[in-house]
Amino acid sequence: MSDSILKRKNKIRRTSEDNIISVIIFIVMMLVFILTVYPFYYCFILSFNEGINASIGGIYFWPRKFTLENYEQVFSNKQLVPAFGVSIMRTIVGTLLSVTFTGMVAFAVSHKYLIGRTLYTNMMIVAMYFGGGMIPYFILIKNLGLYNTFWVYIIPALFSIWNCILMMNFFRSIPDALEESARIDGANDLVIFFRIIVPVSMPIIATIMLFNGVGHWNDWYTTAFYTRNKELRTASFILKELISKANLTSITGADNTATAARAADAAAQNFTAESLRMATMIVVVIPIICVYPFLQKYFVKGVMVGSIKG
Protein backbone atom coordinates (compact mmCIF):
# COMPACT_ATOMS: atom_id res chain seq x y z
CA MET A 1 0.00 0.00 0.00
CA SER A 2 2.55 2.56 1.15
CA ASP A 3 4.87 1.21 -1.48
CA SER A 4 2.46 1.90 -4.28
CA ILE A 5 1.80 5.42 -2.97
CA LEU A 6 5.51 6.07 -2.93
CA LYS A 7 5.81 4.87 -6.48
CA ARG A 8 2.94 6.97 -7.68
CA LYS A 9 4.15 10.03 -5.84
CA ASN A 10 7.52 9.45 -7.28
CA LYS A 11 6.14 9.20 -10.75
CA ILE A 12 4.17 12.43 -10.44
CA ARG A 13 7.21 14.26 -9.08
CA ARG A 14 9.29 13.02 -11.92
CA THR A 15 6.94 14.09 -14.69
CA SER A 16 6.39 17.64 -13.44
CA GLU A 17 9.86 18.82 -12.50
CA ASP A 18 11.69 16.52 -14.84
CA ASN A 19 9.96 17.66 -17.94
CA ILE A 20 10.81 21.30 -17.38
CA ILE A 21 14.44 20.52 -16.65
CA SER A 22 14.65 18.14 -19.59
CA VAL A 23 13.30 20.76 -21.95
CA ILE A 24 15.73 23.40 -20.66
CA ILE A 25 18.64 20.98 -20.92
CA PHE A 26 17.62 20.01 -24.43
CA ILE A 27 17.49 23.64 -25.54
CA VAL A 28 20.85 24.48 -23.93
CA MET A 29 22.50 21.46 -25.51
CA MET A 30 21.08 22.28 -28.92
CA LEU A 31 22.51 25.77 -28.55
CA VAL A 32 25.91 24.30 -27.67
CA PHE A 33 25.65 22.04 -30.71
CA ILE A 34 24.81 24.89 -33.05
CA LEU A 35 27.46 27.22 -31.61
CA THR A 36 30.10 24.52 -32.06
CA VAL A 37 29.14 23.25 -35.49
CA TYR A 38 27.90 26.37 -37.25
CA PRO A 39 31.27 28.17 -37.54
CA PHE A 40 32.69 25.16 -39.35
CA TYR A 41 29.57 24.82 -41.46
CA TYR A 42 29.73 28.49 -42.39
CA CYS A 43 33.33 28.16 -43.60
CA PHE A 44 32.31 25.01 -45.44
CA ILE A 45 29.49 26.62 -47.44
CA LEU A 46 31.54 29.72 -48.13
CA SER A 47 34.33 27.59 -49.52
CA PHE A 48 31.87 26.23 -52.09
CA ASN A 49 30.50 29.63 -53.07
CA GLU A 50 31.89 31.92 -55.73
CA GLY A 51 34.17 34.39 -53.99
CA ILE A 52 32.86 37.57 -55.62
CA ASN A 53 29.32 36.55 -54.92
CA ALA A 54 30.13 35.70 -51.30
CA SER A 55 31.78 39.04 -50.61
CA ILE A 56 28.42 40.85 -50.67
CA GLY A 57 27.47 38.74 -47.63
CA GLY A 58 24.14 37.25 -46.69
CA ILE A 59 25.12 33.59 -47.03
CA TYR A 60 24.07 31.73 -43.92
CA PHE A 61 22.75 28.28 -44.70
CA TRP A 62 23.82 27.07 -48.13
CA PRO A 63 25.99 28.22 -51.03
CA ARG A 64 24.31 30.77 -53.28
CA LYS A 65 26.47 30.23 -56.33
CA PHE A 66 28.00 26.80 -56.09
CA THR A 67 31.52 26.36 -57.44
CA LEU A 68 34.55 24.14 -56.99
CA GLU A 69 36.86 26.88 -58.21
CA ASN A 70 38.15 27.75 -54.74
CA TYR A 71 39.38 24.22 -54.26
CA GLU A 72 40.85 24.10 -57.75
CA GLN A 73 42.76 27.23 -56.83
CA VAL A 74 43.98 25.76 -53.52
CA PHE A 75 45.17 22.56 -55.16
CA SER A 76 46.99 24.36 -57.93
CA ASN A 77 48.49 27.08 -55.75
CA LYS A 78 52.28 27.18 -56.05
CA GLN A 79 52.70 27.95 -52.35
CA LEU A 80 50.04 25.76 -50.84
CA VAL A 81 50.66 22.49 -52.66
CA PRO A 82 54.28 22.08 -51.52
CA ALA A 83 53.24 23.30 -48.07
CA PHE A 84 50.69 20.49 -47.84
CA GLY A 85 53.48 18.13 -48.84
CA VAL A 86 55.69 19.36 -45.98
CA SER A 87 52.76 19.15 -43.56
CA ILE A 88 51.94 15.58 -44.55
CA MET A 89 55.59 14.52 -44.44
CA ARG A 90 56.26 15.95 -41.01
CA THR A 91 52.99 14.60 -39.64
CA ILE A 92 53.68 11.04 -40.79
CA VAL A 93 57.42 10.92 -40.10
CA GLY A 94 57.19 12.95 -36.91
CA THR A 95 54.31 10.95 -35.45
CA LEU A 96 55.78 7.53 -36.22
CA LEU A 97 59.24 8.40 -34.89
CA SER A 98 57.90 10.15 -31.82
CA VAL A 99 55.56 7.32 -30.84
CA THR A 100 58.34 4.76 -31.35
CA PHE A 101 60.94 6.75 -29.43
CA THR A 102 58.63 7.72 -26.57
CA GLY A 103 57.22 4.19 -26.46
CA MET A 104 60.66 2.59 -26.15
CA VAL A 105 61.62 4.90 -23.29
CA ALA A 106 58.27 4.29 -21.59
CA PHE A 107 58.68 0.53 -22.05
CA ALA A 108 62.09 0.57 -20.38
CA VAL A 109 61.13 2.83 -17.48
CA SER A 110 57.91 0.90 -16.81
CA HIS A 111 59.98 -2.07 -15.57
CA LYS A 112 60.22 -2.04 -11.79
CA TYR A 113 63.60 -3.79 -11.80
CA LEU A 114 65.25 -1.25 -14.11
CA ILE A 115 68.36 0.12 -12.41
CA GLY A 116 68.12 3.89 -12.00
CA ARG A 117 64.36 3.91 -12.54
CA THR A 118 63.70 6.39 -9.72
CA LEU A 119 66.31 8.76 -11.13
CA TYR A 120 64.81 8.57 -14.63
CA THR A 121 61.28 9.17 -13.32
CA ASN A 122 62.38 12.13 -11.22
CA MET A 123 64.19 13.63 -14.19
CA MET A 124 60.93 13.46 -16.11
CA ILE A 125 58.89 15.07 -13.36
CA VAL A 126 61.35 17.94 -12.97
CA ALA A 127 61.49 18.50 -16.73
CA MET A 128 57.70 18.47 -16.87
CA TYR A 129 57.23 21.22 -14.31
CA PHE A 130 60.24 23.41 -15.08
CA GLY A 131 61.66 24.64 -18.34
CA GLY A 132 64.13 27.17 -19.62
CA GLY A 133 61.60 29.10 -21.66
CA MET A 134 61.72 29.85 -25.34
CA ILE A 135 64.89 31.95 -25.48
CA PRO A 136 67.50 29.40 -24.29
CA TYR A 137 65.58 26.81 -26.31
CA PHE A 138 65.89 28.88 -29.46
CA ILE A 139 69.63 29.35 -28.90
CA LEU A 140 69.95 25.60 -28.40
CA ILE A 141 68.10 24.82 -31.66
CA LYS A 142 70.37 27.24 -33.53
CA ASN A 143 73.54 25.77 -32.05
CA LEU A 144 72.48 22.19 -32.71
CA GLY A 145 72.23 23.08 -36.39
CA LEU A 146 68.53 22.26 -36.49
CA TYR A 147 67.53 25.80 -37.41
CA ASN A 148 66.08 26.02 -40.90
CA THR A 149 66.15 22.27 -41.58
CA PHE A 150 63.31 19.79 -41.96
CA TRP A 151 64.57 17.98 -38.85
CA VAL A 152 63.60 20.87 -36.60
CA TYR A 153 60.05 19.57 -37.07
CA ILE A 154 60.98 16.03 -36.10
CA ILE A 155 63.82 15.82 -33.59
CA PRO A 156 62.71 18.22 -30.83
CA ALA A 157 59.30 16.49 -30.90
CA LEU A 158 60.70 12.96 -30.62
CA PHE A 159 60.09 12.61 -26.91
CA SER A 160 57.14 13.84 -24.91
CA ILE A 161 57.20 13.39 -21.15
CA TRP A 162 53.44 13.62 -20.89
CA ASN A 163 52.94 10.89 -23.51
CA CYS A 164 55.67 8.83 -21.87
CA ILE A 165 53.77 8.87 -18.57
CA LEU A 166 50.53 7.93 -20.32
CA MET A 167 52.28 4.98 -21.98
CA MET A 168 54.05 3.89 -18.80
CA ASN A 169 50.70 3.73 -17.01
CA PHE A 170 49.34 1.56 -19.79
CA PHE A 171 52.38 -0.74 -20.03
CA ARG A 172 52.26 -1.40 -16.29
CA SER A 173 48.76 -2.83 -16.69
CA ILE A 174 50.01 -5.47 -19.16
CA PRO A 175 50.51 -8.84 -17.41
CA ASP A 176 54.20 -9.65 -16.83
CA ALA A 177 53.65 -13.22 -17.99
CA LEU A 178 53.23 -12.04 -21.56
CA GLU A 179 56.69 -10.54 -21.62
CA GLU A 180 58.27 -13.32 -19.62
CA SER A 181 57.11 -16.10 -21.92
CA ALA A 182 58.58 -14.26 -24.90
CA ARG A 183 61.85 -13.87 -23.01
CA ILE A 184 61.99 -17.58 -22.30
CA ASP A 185 61.54 -18.16 -26.01
CA GLY A 186 64.68 -16.10 -26.53
CA ALA A 187 63.25 -12.74 -27.59
CA ASN A 188 65.25 -9.65 -26.69
CA ASP A 189 63.77 -6.37 -25.46
CA LEU A 190 63.54 -4.85 -28.91
CA VAL A 191 61.62 -7.82 -30.25
CA ILE A 192 59.40 -7.90 -27.18
CA PHE A 193 58.57 -4.23 -27.56
CA PHE A 194 57.63 -4.37 -31.22
CA ARG A 195 56.06 -7.84 -31.35
CA ILE A 196 54.36 -8.10 -27.94
CA ILE A 197 53.95 -4.72 -26.30
CA VAL A 198 52.98 -2.58 -29.31
CA PRO A 199 50.21 -4.92 -30.55
CA VAL A 200 48.54 -5.16 -27.14
CA SER A 201 48.90 -1.41 -26.49
CA MET A 202 47.05 -0.22 -29.55
CA PRO A 203 44.50 1.84 -27.54
CA ILE A 204 47.14 4.06 -25.98
CA ILE A 205 49.28 4.14 -29.13
CA ALA A 206 46.28 5.25 -31.19
CA THR A 207 45.55 8.00 -28.68
CA ILE A 208 49.09 9.28 -28.66
CA MET A 209 49.35 9.09 -32.44
CA LEU A 210 46.22 11.24 -32.61
CA PHE A 211 47.61 13.85 -30.17
CA ASN A 212 50.96 13.82 -31.90
CA GLY A 213 49.61 13.90 -35.42
CA VAL A 214 47.23 16.75 -34.64
CA GLY A 215 50.08 18.62 -32.97
CA HIS A 216 52.31 18.27 -36.03
CA TRP A 217 49.52 19.13 -38.43
CA ASN A 218 48.47 22.26 -36.51
CA ASP A 219 51.93 23.58 -35.66
CA TRP A 220 52.73 26.96 -37.22
CA TYR A 221 55.04 28.13 -34.47
CA THR A 222 58.08 26.03 -35.46
CA THR A 223 57.82 27.19 -39.05
CA ALA A 224 57.49 30.81 -37.99
CA PHE A 225 60.46 30.91 -35.63
CA TYR A 226 62.78 28.03 -36.46
CA THR A 227 62.81 28.10 -40.25
CA ARG A 228 63.43 30.70 -42.93
CA ASN A 229 63.32 28.80 -46.22
CA LYS A 230 60.15 28.91 -48.26
CA GLU A 231 60.41 25.19 -49.02
CA LEU A 232 59.96 24.39 -45.32
CA ARG A 233 56.63 26.19 -44.96
CA THR A 234 53.73 24.12 -43.71
CA ALA A 235 50.06 24.51 -44.60
CA SER A 236 49.23 25.74 -41.09
CA PHE A 237 51.85 28.45 -41.37
CA ILE A 238 50.62 29.69 -44.75
CA LEU A 239 47.07 29.68 -43.46
CA LYS A 240 48.18 31.71 -40.47
CA GLU A 241 49.76 34.25 -42.81
CA LEU A 242 46.62 34.41 -44.98
CA ILE A 243 44.39 34.98 -41.98
CA SER A 244 46.63 37.59 -40.37
CA LYS A 245 46.74 39.48 -43.64
CA ALA A 246 42.95 39.31 -43.92
CA ASN A 247 42.52 40.54 -40.37
CA LEU A 248 44.89 43.41 -41.01
CA THR A 249 43.11 44.57 -44.17
CA SER A 250 39.80 44.53 -42.34
CA ILE A 251 41.33 46.66 -39.59
CA THR A 252 43.08 49.22 -41.75
CA GLY A 253 39.61 50.21 -42.85
CA ALA A 254 39.80 49.01 -46.44
CA ASP A 255 36.39 47.81 -47.45
CA ASN A 256 36.75 44.07 -47.91
CA THR A 257 33.93 43.78 -50.38
CA ALA A 258 35.08 46.52 -52.67
CA THR A 259 38.78 45.64 -52.64
CA ALA A 260 38.04 41.98 -53.11
CA ALA A 261 35.74 42.68 -56.01
CA ARG A 262 38.21 45.07 -57.58
CA ALA A 263 41.13 42.72 -57.19
CA ALA A 264 39.17 39.85 -58.63
CA ASP A 265 37.81 41.98 -61.46
CA ALA A 266 41.28 43.03 -62.43
CA ALA A 267 42.32 39.42 -62.77
CA ALA A 268 38.98 38.34 -64.24
CA GLN A 269 38.53 35.68 -61.56
CA ASN A 270 35.59 34.63 -59.48
CA PHE A 271 37.50 33.72 -56.35
CA THR A 272 38.68 36.17 -53.70
CA ALA A 273 41.27 36.06 -50.95
CA GLU A 274 38.45 35.20 -48.58
CA SER A 275 37.03 32.29 -50.54
CA LEU A 276 40.52 30.90 -51.00
CA ARG A 277 41.12 31.21 -47.28
CA MET A 278 37.90 29.37 -46.50
CA ALA A 279 38.79 26.52 -48.84
CA THR A 280 42.28 26.27 -47.31
CA MET A 281 40.80 26.25 -43.81
CA ILE A 282 38.46 23.42 -44.76
CA VAL A 283 41.28 21.42 -46.34
CA VAL A 284 43.31 21.82 -43.14
CA VAL A 285 40.39 20.92 -40.86
CA ILE A 286 38.93 17.96 -42.80
CA PRO A 287 41.64 15.40 -41.90
CA ILE A 288 41.15 16.18 -38.21
CA ILE A 289 37.36 15.92 -38.43
CA CYS A 290 37.70 12.59 -40.22
CA VAL A 291 40.11 11.04 -37.73
CA TYR A 292 39.25 12.09 -34.19
CA PRO A 293 35.73 10.62 -33.76
CA PHE A 294 37.07 7.12 -34.42
CA LEU A 295 39.67 7.41 -31.70
CA GLN A 296 37.25 8.94 -29.22
CA LYS A 297 36.84 5.93 -26.94
CA TYR A 298 40.62 5.63 -26.71
CA PHE A 299 41.53 9.22 -25.96
CA VAL A 300 38.77 9.61 -23.41
CA LYS A 301 40.45 6.80 -21.44
CA GLY A 302 43.91 8.19 -22.12
CA VAL A 303 43.04 11.65 -20.85
CA MET A 304 41.56 10.16 -17.71
CA VAL A 305 44.64 8.11 -16.86
CA GLY A 306 46.92 11.06 -17.43
CA SER A 307 44.95 13.64 -15.53
CA ILE A 308 44.09 11.65 -12.46
CA LYS A 309 47.27 9.66 -11.95
CA GLY A 310 49.60 12.06 -13.78
Partner: protein, 328 residues
Protein backbone atom coordinates in the same frame (compact mmCIF):
# COMPACT_ATOMS: atom_id res chain seq x y z
CA UNK B 1 76.93 -19.56 -9.07
CA UNK B 2 75.35 -16.15 -8.86
CA UNK B 3 74.64 -16.30 -12.54
CA UNK B 4 72.88 -19.57 -12.19
CA UNK B 5 70.64 -18.27 -9.45
CA UNK B 6 69.81 -15.04 -11.14
CA UNK B 7 66.62 -15.13 -13.10
CA UNK B 8 66.31 -13.70 -16.57
CA UNK B 9 64.41 -10.81 -15.04
CA UNK B 10 67.46 -9.01 -13.79
CA UNK B 11 68.35 -11.36 -10.98
CA UNK B 12 66.50 -11.11 -7.73
CA UNK B 13 68.76 -13.62 -6.00
CA UNK B 14 71.40 -11.82 -3.98
CA UNK B 15 74.14 -14.34 -3.26
CA UNK B 16 77.01 -12.05 -4.19
CA UNK B 17 75.80 -8.48 -3.74
CA UNK B 18 79.03 -6.98 -5.08
CA UNK B 19 78.68 -8.50 -8.52
CA UNK B 20 74.96 -8.36 -8.64
CA UNK B 21 74.45 -4.85 -10.01
CA UNK B 22 76.86 -5.42 -12.90
CA UNK B 23 75.22 -8.68 -13.67
CA UNK B 24 71.82 -7.08 -13.64
CA UNK B 25 73.04 -4.25 -15.87
CA UNK B 26 74.33 -6.80 -18.35
CA UNK B 27 70.99 -8.57 -18.27
CA UNK B 28 69.02 -5.41 -18.90
CA UNK B 29 71.46 -3.53 -21.11
CA UNK B 30 68.98 -3.09 -23.90
CA UNK B 31 66.34 -1.62 -21.61
CA UNK B 32 69.01 0.69 -20.23
CA UNK B 33 69.78 1.83 -23.77
CA UNK B 34 66.08 2.64 -24.32
CA UNK B 35 65.86 4.55 -21.04
CA UNK B 36 69.09 6.43 -21.68
CA UNK B 37 67.78 7.61 -25.07
CA UNK B 38 65.07 9.40 -23.13
CA UNK B 39 67.55 10.70 -20.57
CA UNK B 40 69.83 12.03 -23.31
CA UNK B 41 66.87 13.73 -24.95
CA UNK B 42 65.80 15.36 -21.69
CA UNK B 43 69.31 16.56 -20.91
CA UNK B 44 69.60 18.06 -24.37
CA UNK B 45 66.18 19.62 -24.81
CA UNK B 46 65.04 20.25 -21.22
CA UNK B 47 68.02 20.53 -18.89
CA UNK B 48 70.40 22.50 -21.11
CA UNK B 49 67.73 25.18 -21.71
CA UNK B 50 67.05 25.18 -17.95
CA UNK B 51 70.71 25.94 -17.32
CA UNK B 52 70.43 28.53 -20.09
CA UNK B 53 68.22 30.63 -17.81
CA UNK B 54 71.44 32.21 -16.54
CA UNK B 55 71.49 34.32 -19.67
CA UNK B 56 68.82 36.45 -18.01
CA UNK B 57 71.66 37.69 -15.78
CA UNK B 58 74.27 38.31 -18.45
CA UNK B 59 74.59 40.03 -21.78
CA UNK B 60 74.37 37.07 -24.14
CA UNK B 61 76.49 37.19 -27.27
CA UNK B 62 74.99 34.85 -29.92
CA UNK B 63 78.32 34.22 -31.62
CA UNK B 64 79.69 32.52 -28.49
CA UNK B 65 77.26 29.63 -29.01
CA UNK B 66 76.00 27.52 -26.13
CA UNK B 67 79.12 28.30 -24.10
CA UNK B 68 77.89 31.91 -24.22
CA UNK B 69 75.37 30.97 -21.52
CA UNK B 70 78.31 31.22 -19.12
CA UNK B 71 81.04 33.20 -20.87
CA UNK B 72 78.97 36.27 -21.76
CA UNK B 73 79.59 39.34 -19.56
CA UNK B 74 77.63 39.29 -16.30
CA UNK B 75 75.13 42.12 -15.77
CA UNK B 76 73.18 41.00 -12.69
CA UNK B 77 69.61 42.25 -12.51
CA UNK B 78 69.99 44.88 -15.23
CA UNK B 79 67.34 43.36 -17.55
CA UNK B 80 64.85 42.85 -14.75
CA UNK B 81 65.20 46.51 -13.74
CA UNK B 82 64.91 47.60 -17.35
CA UNK B 83 61.65 45.70 -17.82
CA UNK B 84 60.15 46.79 -14.49
CA UNK B 85 60.76 50.45 -15.32
CA UNK B 86 59.70 50.13 -18.95
CA UNK B 87 56.52 52.00 -19.85
CA UNK B 88 55.22 48.76 -21.40
CA UNK B 89 55.61 46.79 -18.18
CA UNK B 90 52.37 47.76 -16.52
CA UNK B 91 49.97 47.18 -19.46
CA UNK B 92 51.60 43.85 -20.33
CA UNK B 93 51.62 42.67 -16.74
CA UNK B 94 48.02 43.79 -16.24
CA UNK B 95 46.84 42.10 -19.46
CA UNK B 96 48.51 38.84 -18.47
CA UNK B 97 47.00 38.85 -14.99
CA UNK B 98 43.53 40.02 -16.01
CA UNK B 99 43.23 37.60 -18.95
CA UNK B 100 44.44 34.74 -16.79
CA UNK B 101 42.02 35.53 -13.97
CA UNK B 102 39.12 35.98 -16.40
CA UNK B 103 39.89 32.59 -17.91
CA UNK B 104 40.12 31.05 -14.44
CA UNK B 105 36.74 32.57 -13.57
CA UNK B 106 34.99 31.46 -16.78
CA UNK B 107 36.92 28.81 -18.70
CA UNK B 108 37.34 26.69 -15.59
CA UNK B 109 33.73 26.44 -14.32
CA UNK B 110 32.02 26.21 -17.72
CA UNK B 111 33.24 22.64 -18.47
CA UNK B 112 31.86 21.55 -15.07
CA UNK B 113 28.46 23.06 -15.86
CA UNK B 114 28.56 21.52 -19.32
CA UNK B 115 29.39 18.09 -17.90
CA UNK B 116 26.59 18.33 -15.32
CA UNK B 117 24.09 19.40 -17.96
CA UNK B 118 25.15 16.82 -20.51
CA UNK B 119 24.97 14.13 -17.85
CA UNK B 120 21.33 14.99 -17.20
CA UNK B 121 20.44 14.50 -20.83
CA UNK B 122 18.13 11.52 -21.34
CA UNK B 123 18.32 11.02 -25.08
CA UNK B 124 21.46 8.94 -25.25
CA UNK B 125 22.04 9.13 -29.00
CA UNK B 126 21.82 12.92 -29.10
CA UNK B 127 23.94 13.05 -25.96
CA UNK B 128 26.69 11.07 -27.65
CA UNK B 129 26.58 13.22 -30.79
CA UNK B 130 26.84 16.42 -28.75
CA UNK B 131 29.74 15.06 -26.76
CA UNK B 132 31.65 14.03 -29.88
CA UNK B 133 31.03 17.39 -31.49
CA UNK B 134 32.10 19.23 -28.35
CA UNK B 135 35.64 17.79 -28.61
CA UNK B 136 36.16 19.05 -32.12
CA UNK B 137 37.31 22.62 -31.34
CA UNK B 138 40.03 21.23 -29.07
CA UNK B 139 41.72 19.53 -32.02
CA UNK B 140 41.55 22.63 -34.19
CA UNK B 141 44.48 25.02 -34.01
CA UNK B 142 44.21 28.63 -32.88
CA UNK B 143 45.07 29.54 -36.46
CA UNK B 144 41.74 28.10 -37.62
CA UNK B 145 39.90 29.65 -34.68
CA UNK B 146 41.44 32.96 -35.66
CA UNK B 147 40.20 32.42 -39.22
CA UNK B 148 36.70 31.69 -37.96
CA UNK B 149 36.79 34.75 -35.71
CA UNK B 150 37.87 36.94 -38.60
CA UNK B 151 35.00 35.79 -40.78
CA UNK B 152 32.46 36.11 -37.97
CA UNK B 153 33.62 39.30 -36.30
CA UNK B 154 35.23 41.48 -38.95
CA UNK B 155 33.63 44.87 -39.32
CA UNK B 156 33.01 44.94 -43.07
CA UNK B 157 31.12 41.69 -43.81
CA UNK B 158 31.44 39.63 -40.63
CA UNK B 159 28.50 37.35 -39.88
CA UNK B 160 27.78 38.85 -36.46
CA UNK B 161 27.94 42.44 -37.61
CA UNK B 162 25.80 41.75 -40.69
CA UNK B 163 23.23 39.86 -38.64
CA UNK B 164 23.06 42.57 -35.96
CA UNK B 165 22.60 45.19 -38.66
CA UNK B 166 19.85 43.23 -40.38
CA UNK B 167 18.08 42.85 -37.05
CA UNK B 168 18.36 46.58 -36.61
CA UNK B 169 20.21 46.32 -33.29
CA UNK B 170 23.18 48.39 -34.47
CA UNK B 171 23.65 50.74 -37.37
CA UNK B 172 27.44 50.85 -37.36
CA UNK B 173 29.68 47.78 -37.31
CA UNK B 174 31.27 46.93 -33.97
CA UNK B 175 35.08 46.70 -34.24
CA UNK B 176 35.40 43.38 -32.38
CA UNK B 177 38.88 42.60 -33.67
CA UNK B 178 40.39 46.03 -33.93
CA UNK B 179 39.29 47.79 -30.77
CA UNK B 180 41.12 47.14 -27.49
CA UNK B 181 37.76 47.23 -25.67
CA UNK B 182 36.61 43.92 -27.13
CA UNK B 183 39.81 41.90 -26.92
CA UNK B 184 39.37 40.43 -23.43
CA UNK B 185 35.80 39.37 -24.17
CA UNK B 186 36.70 37.80 -27.51
CA UNK B 187 39.67 36.03 -25.91
CA UNK B 188 37.70 34.53 -23.03
CA UNK B 189 34.70 33.49 -25.11
CA UNK B 190 36.82 31.88 -27.82
CA UNK B 191 38.83 30.08 -25.12
CA UNK B 192 35.63 28.65 -23.63
CA UNK B 193 34.35 27.71 -27.09
CA UNK B 194 37.56 25.83 -27.86
CA UNK B 195 38.19 23.92 -24.65
CA UNK B 196 34.81 23.43 -22.95
CA UNK B 197 34.04 19.99 -24.37
CA UNK B 198 37.55 18.71 -23.88
CA UNK B 199 37.81 19.45 -20.18
CA UNK B 200 34.29 18.17 -19.62
CA UNK B 201 35.65 14.66 -20.40
CA UNK B 202 37.32 14.47 -17.01
CA UNK B 203 34.26 15.67 -15.13
CA UNK B 204 31.92 13.38 -17.08
CA UNK B 205 34.13 10.42 -16.24
CA UNK B 206 34.08 11.42 -12.57
CA UNK B 207 30.29 11.72 -12.68
CA UNK B 208 30.05 8.27 -14.29
CA UNK B 209 31.90 6.87 -11.28
CA UNK B 210 29.29 8.05 -8.76
CA UNK B 211 27.46 5.19 -7.05
CA UNK B 212 24.00 4.80 -8.60
CA UNK B 213 22.45 3.61 -5.33
CA UNK B 214 22.99 7.09 -3.89
CA UNK B 215 20.65 8.55 -6.49
CA UNK B 216 18.13 5.77 -5.86
CA UNK B 217 18.21 6.47 -2.13
CA UNK B 218 17.79 10.18 -2.79
CA UNK B 219 14.77 9.54 -5.02
CA UNK B 220 13.18 7.42 -2.30
CA UNK B 221 13.82 10.25 0.14
CA UNK B 222 12.03 12.59 -2.23
CA UNK B 223 14.97 14.62 -3.48
CA UNK B 224 14.23 16.62 -6.59
CA UNK B 225 16.44 16.49 -9.64
CA UNK B 226 18.16 19.76 -8.81
CA UNK B 227 18.74 18.55 -5.26
CA UNK B 228 20.31 15.37 -6.56
CA UNK B 229 22.69 17.35 -8.75
CA UNK B 230 23.63 19.77 -5.98
CA UNK B 231 23.88 17.32 -3.10
CA UNK B 232 25.11 14.11 -4.73
CA UNK B 233 26.80 14.73 -8.07
CA UNK B 234 28.62 17.94 -7.21
CA UNK B 235 30.14 16.75 -3.89
CA UNK B 236 31.09 13.45 -5.53
CA UNK B 237 33.20 15.12 -8.19
CA UNK B 238 34.80 17.65 -5.84
CA UNK B 239 38.20 15.89 -5.74
CA UNK B 240 38.33 15.94 -9.54
CA UNK B 241 37.39 19.61 -9.55
CA UNK B 242 40.25 20.32 -7.12
CA UNK B 243 42.82 18.48 -9.26
CA UNK B 244 41.75 20.32 -12.40
CA UNK B 245 41.73 23.61 -10.47
CA UNK B 246 45.34 23.11 -9.37
CA UNK B 247 46.31 22.18 -12.92
CA UNK B 248 44.80 25.36 -14.27
CA UNK B 249 46.35 27.46 -11.48
CA UNK B 250 49.70 25.97 -12.40
CA UNK B 251 49.37 27.34 -15.89
CA UNK B 252 47.44 30.42 -14.79
CA UNK B 253 49.73 32.91 -16.54
CA UNK B 254 49.81 30.77 -19.66
CA UNK B 255 46.04 31.03 -19.88
CA UNK B 256 44.77 28.25 -17.60
CA UNK B 257 43.58 24.88 -18.88
CA UNK B 258 43.85 25.61 -22.56
CA UNK B 259 47.08 27.60 -22.18
CA UNK B 260 45.82 29.97 -24.82
CA UNK B 261 47.25 33.33 -23.71
CA UNK B 262 50.24 33.28 -26.04
CA UNK B 263 48.54 32.17 -29.24
CA UNK B 264 45.61 34.49 -28.70
CA UNK B 265 47.89 37.45 -28.10
CA UNK B 266 50.12 36.59 -31.03
CA UNK B 267 47.41 35.74 -33.57
CA UNK B 268 44.48 37.92 -32.50
CA UNK B 269 46.63 40.75 -31.27
CA UNK B 270 47.46 43.55 -33.68
CA UNK B 271 48.65 47.13 -33.65
CA UNK B 272 45.19 48.50 -32.90
CA UNK B 273 44.34 46.31 -29.89
CA UNK B 274 47.91 45.94 -28.63
CA UNK B 275 47.16 47.92 -25.46
CA UNK B 276 44.87 45.15 -24.20
CA UNK B 277 46.18 42.10 -26.05
CA UNK B 278 49.91 41.93 -25.37
CA UNK B 279 50.91 39.39 -22.69
CA UNK B 280 54.25 38.41 -21.16
CA UNK B 281 54.83 35.37 -23.37
CA UNK B 282 54.10 37.16 -26.62
CA UNK B 283 56.26 40.08 -25.52
CA UNK B 284 59.13 37.70 -24.71
CA UNK B 285 58.90 36.26 -28.18
CA UNK B 286 58.69 39.60 -29.92
CA UNK B 287 61.66 41.20 -28.18
CA UNK B 288 63.64 37.97 -28.04
CA UNK B 289 63.24 36.15 -31.31
CA UNK B 290 62.10 39.01 -33.52
CA UNK B 291 64.36 41.77 -32.19
CA UNK B 292 67.20 39.52 -31.06
CA UNK B 293 67.37 40.83 -27.47
CA UNK B 294 67.92 37.37 -26.02
CA UNK B 295 69.01 38.23 -22.49
CA UNK B 296 66.31 40.83 -21.91
CA UNK B 297 63.62 38.45 -23.21
CA UNK B 298 64.96 35.63 -21.05
CA UNK B 299 64.65 37.87 -17.98
CA UNK B 300 61.00 38.65 -18.82
CA UNK B 301 60.32 34.96 -19.33
CA UNK B 302 62.04 34.05 -16.06
CA UNK B 303 59.83 36.48 -14.16
CA UNK B 304 56.76 34.74 -15.54
CA UNK B 305 58.16 31.31 -14.64
CA UNK B 306 58.90 32.38 -11.08
CA UNK B 307 55.36 33.66 -10.59
CA UNK B 308 54.01 30.40 -12.06
CA UNK B 309 56.12 28.15 -9.82
CA UNK B 310 55.03 30.17 -6.81
CA UNK B 311 51.38 29.76 -7.83
CA UNK B 312 51.60 25.97 -8.30
CA UNK B 313 53.42 25.38 -5.04
CA UNK B 314 51.06 27.62 -3.07
CA UNK B 315 47.87 26.24 -4.58
CA UNK B 316 49.06 22.69 -4.08
CA UNK B 317 49.89 23.43 -0.44
CA UNK B 318 46.50 25.05 0.15
CA UNK B 319 44.75 22.15 -1.54
CA UNK B 320 46.52 19.56 0.59
CA UNK B 321 45.61 21.51 3.75
CA UNK B 322 41.97 21.92 2.74
CA UNK B 323 41.06 18.74 0.94
CA UNK B 324 43.89 16.25 1.46
CA UNK B 325 44.34 15.99 -2.27
CA UNK B 326 47.10 17.61 -4.26
CA UNK B 327 49.20 17.05 -7.32
CA UNK B 328 52.48 16.30 -5.58
Amino acid sequence: MAQMNATAKGGTARRKPGNNIWFRLRQQWMLQVFALMGVAFMILFSYIPMVGIVLAFNNFKPKLGLAGFFTSPWVGFKWFREFLFDSQFWPIFRNTIVLSLLKLAFSFPVPILFALTLNEMRMLKIKRVIQTVSYLPHFISWVIVHGILVSFLNSSNGVINTALKQLGLIDKSLPFLSSPDYFWGVAVISDIWKEMGWWAIIFLAAIAGVDVTMYEAAIVDGASRMQRILHITLPAIRPTIMVVLIMSLGNLLGGGLGGSNFEQAYLLGNSSNYAKSEVLQAYTLRVGLENGRFSYAAAVSLMQSLISVFLVVTSNFVSIKLTDSGLF
